[in-house]
């Protein structure tokens, strides 16, 4: 849903690396290389970023619906 803070398996902090990773991969960099650059050597940490889906970006739109369309007093 949203990037977990730590790798499930080993506990290394990965939450701070998602934005970077997603941005660079979107721009076309090779994911393997980005993972190496971010310092994720073990495959347990690598799969956390590689297989993550930020579904929260889609879900959060439903929370924003009310806020944007506010007609009555807040």
């Amino acid at each position: 849903m949203i990037i977990p803070v730590r790798c499930f398996t080993c506990g290394k902090v990965i939450g701070d690396k998602w934005e970077d990773f997603a941005q660079r991969v979107k721009e076309g960099d090779d994911a393997g290389k980005v993972l190496d650059d971010l310092g994720l050597t073990r495959y347990c940490c690598r799969r956390m970023l590689l297989s993550h889906v930020e579904i929260i970006d889609e879900i959060i739109k439903f929370y924003e619906v009310g806020r944007k369309q506010q007609i009555g007093p807040p």
């Binding site: 009310g66 369309q69 506010q70 007609i71 009555g72």
Partner: protein, 55 residues
């Protein structure tokens, strides 16, 4: 239909406007948003602090 409730208000699901119970009764008791007429309301979370344990 609903008893006299003090201080309780509901929120319209569509336009997020707050509707108080008194107003509801005024408009014939039917469930209806006073601003946009939408017929689904949500209850509003009470301003109580809740302790959540991290697990």
């Amino acid at each position: 239909m609903s008893e006299a409730s003090e201080g309780l208000s509901y929120e319209c699901v569509r336009c997020s406007a707050k509707v108080a119970t008194e107003e509801l009764k005024l408009r014939g008791g039917g469930i209806k948003c006073t601003f946009c007429g939408y017929r689904i309301l949500r209850k509003v979370r009470p301003p109580v602090i809740k302790r959540v344990s991290a697990e």
